[in-house]
């Protein structure tokens, strides 16, 4: 659609601008302000310039949690995107069965995040949880509170359980938007199932997939509450992701300057990667 140029449209956007500016710009400025100071208490702050940024970038603990974060987000995308597409392909197309599937699949998304953590905390326990008990019955030694790898895998499994529905529902809506004529044409050409998927469905899913990757990346990169409830970041620091490191620093140790500098670096990383995705989305919109 051709849009009209009219700067008066700003009046319509102004409420949003003011509201978001109030809850985003003021806190952001506070963070920037903290990041260049060393704060001992009220009225006892010293300007330290970029010292915090230098020390953060060199901090081993933070580098570790950054690497853990990237590995985690990488696995999240690798598992959830294909699985989500698969589920979407299997979902009934319409009718009451379709609605029912939709709602059942959406259930994990509607659960408060701390409850998600709680559910898995119970479900994965070896003594009272079905999952932990089942794995142990199979003869595999599994204990997510003691073993590093088990804990990590449990957090990953929890995230897959929690968020694959989002990818599935996105893809489902993408699939519904493909005109029936495309499939009919494929049938006349006697295209194989795979060819239909590869040359009709997948290209048409492109825009929703970009959104799915974007949302999943952002949210997995900011994950906090669920592993916090499930494992508390342990054992050791195997499931301590960036958000948790940051929160511990800011609130637990009240290390404001460092935490603020860390926040900014964290924010910039997310922003940079998201910007790349966003450009890809607008590009895809243009091609349509």
């Amino acid at each position: 659609m051709n849009k009209i140029s009219d700067n008066r449209a700003w009046w319509l956007v102004l409420p949003v601008f003011l509201l978001v500016a109030f809850s985003a710009l003021i806190p952001l400025m506070t963070v920037v302000n903290y990041s260049v100071q060393d704060i001992f208490g009220p009225g006892q702050a010293f300007f330290v310039g970029t010292e915090w940024f230098k020390s953060i970038l060199a901090d081993q603990r933070l580098q570790d949690s950054l690497i853990r974060q990237f590995v985690f987000s990488g696995f999240v995308l690798l598992i959830q995107i294909p699985l989500g597409i698969g589920v979407a392909l299997m979902m009934p197309k319409s009718g009451i069965k379709g609605s029912l599937c939709l709602i059942l699949i959406a259930i994990p998304l509607l659960i408060p995040w701390n409850v998600v953590g709680t559910i898995w905390q119970i479900f994965a326990r070896g003594d009272i949880g079905l999952f932990g008990w089942g794995i142990n019955q199979l003869g595999i030694d599994y204990n997510y509170t003691g073993d590093t790898l088990d804990a990590w895998l449990t957090v990953l499994l929890m995230d897959v359980w929690h968020w694959t529905p989002l990818v599935a529902l996105l893809c489902y809506s993408g699939l519904r938007a493909i005109p029936e004529a495309f499939y009919q044409a494929a049938e006349i050409d006697r295209a194989s199932k795979w060819a239909v998927f590869r040359y009709i469905q997948l290209p048409r899913l492109k825009s929703v997939l970009i959104i799915a990757v974007l949302l999943r990346f952002m949210d997995s990169f900011m994950i906090y509450i669920e592993p916090f409830v499930l494992t508390g970041g342990g054992p050791g620091s195997s499931t301590t992701f960036l958000s948790q490191t940051l929160t511990t620093m800011a609130i637990g140790q009240f290390d404001l300057g460092r935490a603020a500098a860390f926040s900014l670096i964290y924010f910039l990383i997310v922003l940079l990667i998201s910007w790349l995705f966003f450009t890809a989305i607008t590009q895809a919109d243009k091609e349509k």
Partner: protein, 268 residues
């Protein structure tokens, strides 16, 4: 035919796996703590509603739900009120800085809440809003408003501009056109947006917990009380968890026919 059957079986297996953890929570909420810790049972042997009775009779418990409901409702109303005109502007007009503004809005959806915890706390404390519904509702606008603008803009793009022009020719003023003609046309989009705003505000806890202490404490924060000196009260925790799932399921039922499009942010 065989293909649809294998598809059906696949989806049924997926949904069963998906629901198992939820079933386990439900199962546990009907048990006594003695039974939970006594050994693994696949369904409650001594079926009890005690855990639910505790929640529904103790004000410090059920107030948690009411608090969460209150700030979520306020948030949905604010989000829709400001996002509707903005989304209209983005879908219909080009204006100075529109692309940058749009990305800036979205970038707030991408900001890790942990980054804003402390400044938020200080900001709302300094203006005297700490521990009120409105503080949490405003804080949640940070990620809900950008999302709402994004979804609504997608839905609004689907309405041809000829409708707008026709309404002007018929002598409608802009506010009248917007409320009487335009909003009814995108009501499914509004419903879906309200659902998303509800959902994200309902599931968020980090900010809600930081900005409240007693009067406006969300249910998620109250749940941590089940962890006492004598260990965790598993039955009560499970019952509280089950009750947090119900509002979402009720709300999604109303928008079930449009929610798929909403999940794609109106982009298909």
């Amino acid at each position: 035919m065989r293909q649809t059957r294998s598809k059906n079986i696949g989806i049924i297996i997926y949904i069963l796996l998906l629901l198992t953890p939820v079933y386990w929570l439900l199962n546990m909420s009907f048990k006594t703590n003695r039974e939970i810790l006594g050994g693994l049972t696949f369904w409650p042997k001594n079926f009890t509603l005690d855990n639910y009775v505790v929640i529904f009779t103790d004000p410090s418990w059920y107030n948690g739900y009411l608090n969460s409901m209150a700030y979520v409702s306020i948030n949905v109303v604010i989000t829709l009120l400001v996002a509707l005109p903005a989304a209209y502007a983005f879908s219909r007009y080009k204006f100075a800085g529109d692309k940058h503004l749009f990305f800036w809005l979205l970038s707030n959806r991408m900001a890790p809440p942990a980054v804003f915890l402390l400044p938020f706390f200080q900001l709302y404390s300094s203006i005297g809003l700490f521990d009120t519904y409105i503080a949490v509702a405003l804080a949640h606008c940070l990620f809900n408003v950008p999302l709402a603008v994004w979804i609504l803009e997608g839905f609004m793009k689907g309405v041809p501009r000829e409708y707008d022009e026709m309404a002007y020719i018929d002598g409608y003023s802009f506010p009248k056109f917007f409320i009487k003609v335009f909003l009814p046309m995108i009501r499914s989009g509004i419903g879906v947006t309200a659902f998303f705003a509800f959902m994200f505000s309902w599931v968020e806890l980090l900010l809600a917990r930081t900005l409240t202490s007693v009067d406006a404490q969300p249910i998620g924060a109250i749940m941590t009380r089940t962890i006492g000196a004598s260990g965790i009260d598993w039955g009560l925790l499970a019952a509280a968890g089950v009750l947090t799932i119900i509002p979402g399921v009720l709300v999604i039922w109303f928008v079930r026919n449009h929610v798929a499009k909403g999940f794609a942010l109106g982009r298909v």
